[in-house]
């Protein structure tokens, strides 16, 4: 299955793009997807416990099982207001 990844703020700066696409095995979780990206971009490691997840523009959990076509957003700590 194929998912779209969206990255914001410093996570985008670390990865170098705001959006990318990844092929994942069936049953893959958001956590697996994160680990794939972290393996490619060492700078992400610091965010392992400081990242929030949204799937299809709804907050979700790292344990969330992904489905084909999902949009998965990784969000660093927020600073609105």
């Amino acid at each position: 299955m194929r998912v779209t990844v969206r990255l914001f703020a410093r996570l985008r700066d670390i990865v170098g793009v705001a959006q990318l696409s990844r092929e994942l095995p069936e049953g893959a979780t958001a956590s697996l997807l994160w680990n794939m990206l972290a393996a490619e971009h060492a700078g992400l490691a610091a965010y392992r416990d400081a990242v929030s997840i949204a799937v299809n523009a709804e907050y979700s959990k790292m344990s969330r099982r992904l489905a084909d076509g999902d949009e998965v957003a990784f969000l660093p700590p927020v600073s609105g207001g």
């Binding site: 969000l75 927020v78 609105g80």
Partner: protein
């Protein structure tokens, strides 16, 4: 077409738009609100001893709107019939410009103050919005709260700060 209740926008924020959006003068229930409290967050010229030149805000926009709706729902769980409007600015903001505007209408002032304060606390906790600070000799992302809308402690903290 009136102004929306919830918005992320690159246009300057105008309190008048939020007050119109909450329809303070024509309540759905037939009872007019007696109190409107608003909040404006402005870009400060100084942060942590740095001279701020400008801020750049970005957002995960569809989630931000859902989060604003969620905050309004939380407000209605806590206070009697308050109506809430919430707009956040995106893009490049100069010192003194408004980054966030909130308006809360309620029958009485205790509720409008509490609802408005609760809302800005929750925006800072869970709205998917980030600011990049440009100061006199550098720039940096600002990272605040780890956003978790189900964190009961954070929600209770916002409620306490609202002094309800």
């Amino acid at each position: 077409m009136g102004a929306p209740l919830f918005a992320v926008t690159r246009d300057p924020l105008r309190l008048e738009d939020l007050i119109q959006a909450i329809g303070a003068q024509a309540d759905g229930g037939g009872t007019t609100a007696g109190a409107v409290t608003t909040f404006l967050g402005l870009v400060r010229s100084e942060n942590l001893g740095r001279q701020v030149v400008r801020l750049e805000y970005e957002s995960y926009e569809p989630l931000a709107i859902k989060v604003f709706e969620r905050i309004a729902g939380e407000v209605r769980e806590h206070w009697s019939t308050p109506r809430l409007a919430l707009h956040h600015r995106l893009g490049s903001l100069r010192v003194g410009e408004a980054s966030v505007a909130i308006a809360a209408a309620a029958p009485h002032r205790a509720e409008s103050f509490a609802a408005c304060r609760y809302a800005i606390e929750r925006v800072k906790q869970i709205a998917p919005i980030w600011k990049h600070e440009y100061f006199d000799d550098g720039h940096t992302w600002i990272e605040g709260a780890l956003a978790d809308p189900d964190d009961r402690g954070a929600r209770e903290d916002a409620y306490k700060r609202a002094c309800a």
